[in-house]
């Protein structure tokens, strides 16, 4: 057996070049410090750079119209605000396209769902979803959310560990929208996931982990904040 199977011994910390990720945290001082803002910015810049270098994204599974529709849905489901850009900018359409290119079951949900969406808007407004004015697009999404809430009722439970709905006790929505509920839920789930697993989404959350520290500390202001708002504030 080779002798390379070991952990990283104490005396070999200087060989951290082999550990690019850890190296971001294990600074020259040894074990001190956390992932600094500039390090984080560096990571983000690299990701952005890779994307720019790749040029215009070429969809693997969807046609141009479908990909455009995905972009619009991503913009509507997770729009830009003061905390961060939209899910489209965070790469949601590319994420959905990649997964669908590897999974026919998922691809069918999306292609069928988007055709259904175009069918509904075509009958209502004579246009595909992507060509509608924004207020008409949101009108469709509002109707979908309303149908979803009726459909799921108050006691809908989701199997969050496997992402499958296993029981529904709601009433059937009266509109044709109910046929789009499942697609819309899939679309929202993947768009939201794409946003929050991206560098900008992680920044929006304020997630500061995946770091390294020589000592672990919990800031007093965070403890005080929670205690003051809890039933134990008199303690």
């Amino acid at each position: 057996m080779s002798s390379t199977h070991g952990f990283i011994p104490l005396e070999a910390v200087s060989r951290r070049a082999a550990l690019r990720r850890i190296a971001l945290g294990l600074t020259a001082a040894g074990l001190g410090g956390s992932l600094s803002k500039s390090d984080a910015a560096q990571v983000h810049a690299e990701v952005d750079g890779e994307r720019a270098a790749a040029g215009e994204y070429e969809a693997k599974r969807f046609n141009e119209h479908e990909f455009r529709t995905l972009g619009i849905l991503s913009e509507l489901v997770v729009p830009p605000d003061e905390g961060g850009p939209s899910a489209r900018e965070a790469g949601a359409p590319e994420f959905v396209d990649l997964l669908c290119s590897q999974n026919d079951e998922l691809a069918d949900i999306f292609t069928g769902g988007m055709l259904w969406l175009d069918g509904v808007t075509g009958e209502r407004h004579g246009k595909v979803f992507a060509d509608l004015e924004k207020n008409l697009q949101t009108e469709v999404l509002d109707a979908l959310v309303e149908a979803e809430r009726l459909e799921m009722g108050a006691d809908t439970r989701w199997d969050t560990s496997e992402y499958r709905r296993f029981s529904v006790f709601g009433v059937k929505a009266p509109s044709e929208m109910r046929r789009g509920v499942r697609f819309f839920d899939w679309a929202r789930r993947l768009i939201v996931d794409a946003y929050y697993t991206s560098p900008v989404g992680i920044e929006d959350l304020g997630f500061v982990g995946n770091s390294s520290h020589s000592e672990y500390e919990v800031p007093k202001d965070a403890i005080d904040y929670a205690m003051a708002r809890s039933p134990f504030s008199e303690v």
């Binding site: 990720r21 439970r157 929050y196 997630f207 672990y216 708002r229 809890s230």
Partner: protein, 566 residues
């Protein structure tokens, strides 16, 4: 005397086999360590410090496998190297029963990813029958085991604080990290309800140990630790054992039989070389089984011979009997006190920093179940992954409301899990399926399993307690923590992955398979070094006790070899 290839053949490179191999090798004993899976290479295999966006699929797996319940066990980042089902290696359950079996075929086994909770069994845990007249006592006492806990903890490194709680004996501890914000709230809630939350005891080092760096608090123990700041049998036992030069590790070797000589002594093992799909043999003066409780029992049942027609060392008929898992149930909730909490790094040392040991150990006359459970806890600002915010997003509908809800609620969730003692019973055991073999041609286990009322009542006590804790902190219960596994109100048997029993120890060959040194009553050169030897399954996660027992067995074995007794 027959020529032997090795002094000792050890089957399985997890916590038990790793400890055994290292302790023997350090004494100059020549060991063949056979592992059914591949070698692990931390620098290649561990995904330490990766981000979701380092992968096009953002950790949902190829084609979004996680969305369809087909993702990697415990998530893409986890170094589980196995799962509930292995291709071509089925197991079965008797009609009407279910037992889920998690196997990690790799050097280090399940210790590469496990939770690293490290709790000593107490004297009450080891003598339960003497206390309440149910089940069986172990043949050893806390006094017998304590020195081995001392050694195991000193070598592995376990955090904690001395508390003097009789149900949770203190050990040789590394300094634990301080509680996180949500843990402060739970500790206060616990005070109101008489439930003590104390520093967690996990196999993580917070000061240098044997050249291992202290924890750097990235919270990613389950991915495997590149600095070996936590215990894994691969990095902490097997690799050092290999460095002695006294251990040959045979990977991809699926053992199918322990062979015996004409005198009924173990002479070695027959295994399938999985790469070549051919049968090979390795011989030794001693055979130690540490393949995990159910795999060890399976191997013994499959080791039939003229002398042992029902499986090696199975004259008692008890091999495979008294299979136990841990009683599991969990609730999740949300604490308004944590909404919009100032962000800080909650990763910590990779698990909860506080836990509650069983606190009603002296009040069983007021409860409708015997034996206890401890409480584990989850919460904080966790690295986002697939599904992290699906429920919040669904509630918000679409648009800016999703972002606002996520910012407000991120980190406000809390999860409480109970891990309780199951009492061994006659309905819970494994035998060999008479009709099914795996792709190596080896008969597979067939599980039979049933919880008694005691386990169900304990699970309901957990549910009430967790509801009380969450509500005492001003929170709201959202539902069962792991709906996929606990929707019946108790975790699916086997799913806590604390399966033990099956080859239990005892003083009488009539009601046990192993003696007090985990040596087979009927075959003096056959030993067991995994959780198969357990007589009961206290609420304490089993690994630390496997380490301690294996170490004790190794010292006994080495001494017996020196004396020429085996």
């Amino acid at each position: 005397m027959a020529e032997t290839d090795y002094d000792v053949v050890v089957v399985g490179a997890g916590a038990g086999g790793g400890t055994m191999s290292r302790v023997l090798a350090e004494k100059g004993i020549k060991v063949a360590l056979i592992e059914a899976g591949p070698m692990i290479e931390p620098q290649r295999d561990y995904k330490t410090h990766k981000w979701p966006y380092d992968y096009g699929h953002r950790t949902a797996g190829e084609g979004g496998a996680a969305y369809f319940g087909r993702g990697a066990a415990f998530g893409f980042f986890t170094t589980a190297s196995g799962g509930w089902q292995l291709e071509g290696e089925p197991y079965t359950s008797a009609p009407g029963t279910r037992f889920d079996w998690f196997r990690s075929r790799v050097v280090g086994g399940r210790t590469n990813h496990y939770g690293r909770m490290s709790f000593r069994f107490s004297e009450m845990d080891l003598k339960p029958y003497s206390r309440d007249g149910i089940g069986w006592d172990w043949p050893i006492s806390y006094e017998d085991l304590a020195p081995w806990y001392d050694r195991a903890e000193a070598y592995i490194g376990v955090t904690g604080t001395a508390e003097g709680i009789p149900s949770a004996p203190d050990g040789k501890f590394h300094e634990p990290p301080p509680p996180k914000v949500h843990e402060h709230l739970m500790r206060e809630a616990g005070k109101r309800l008489g439930i003590p939350f104390i520093a967690n005891r996990r196999a993580v080092i917070t000061r240098p140990l044997n050249g291992r760096l202290p924890c750097h608090y990235c919270g990613q123990c389950g991915r495997g630790c590149l600095t070996a700041s936590n215990y894994s049998a691969s990095q902490v036992d097997v690799f050092p054992a290999m460095e002695t030069g006294n251990v040959d590790v045979i990977t991809e070797g699926m053992v199918r039989k322990v062979e015996v000589d004409s005198g009924g002594r173990a002479s070695g093992v027959v295994f399938i070389d999985k790469r070549a799909r051919t049968e090979r043999r390795v011989r030794g003066r001693v055979v130690v089984l540490a393949a995990s409780a159910c795999e060890t029992a399976r191997l013994m049942l499959n080791s039939r011979s003229r002398q042992f027609p029902d499986g090696i060392a199975n004259g008692s008929g008890l091999v495979g009997r008294y299979l136990m898992d841990t009683v599991g149930f969990s609730l999740r909730g949300t604490l308004p006190a944590l909404e919009n909490l100032p962000r800080y790094d909650t990763d910590g040392f990779g698990g909860a920093h506080l836990y509650a040991p069983w606190w009603l150990w002296d009040d069983h006359d007021q409860l409708d179940f015997p034996r206890g459970y401890h409480i584990e806890m989850g919460g904080g600002f966790r690295m986002p992954g697939p599904g992290s915010f699906s429920d919040l997003a669904r509630e918000a509908g679409y648009g800016k409301g999703i972002k606002q809800a996520v910012r407000e609620q991120y980190g406000a969730g809390i999860g409480l899990s109970g891990r309780g003692e199951m009492i061994p019973n006659n309905q819970s055991y494994m035998d060999l399926d008479p009709d099914v073999v795996d792709k190596w041609g080896i008969p597979v286990p067939r599980f039979h399993f049933s919880f008694s009322d005691w386990e169900w009542k304990q699970a309901r006590h957990m549910e009430r307690t967790f509801r009380d804790l969450i509500e005492a902190a001003g929170g709201k219960v959202l539902g069962i923590g792991n709906l996929a596994r606990e929707r019946e109100g108790i975790a699916v048997p086997g799913s806590i992955i604390h399966e033990v029993g099956t080859v239990r120890m005892g003083d009488s060959p009539r009601n046990s398979v192993l003696n007090r040194y985990c040596q087979a009553h009927e075959v003096p050169n056959l030993f067991v070094a995994d959780g198969a030897s357990f007589v009961s399954n206290p609420d304490k996660n089993p690994t630390l006790t496997i380490n301690a027992l294996s170490w004790r067995t190794a010292e006994y074995l080495a001494e017996e070899m020196r004396r020429g007794n085996v």
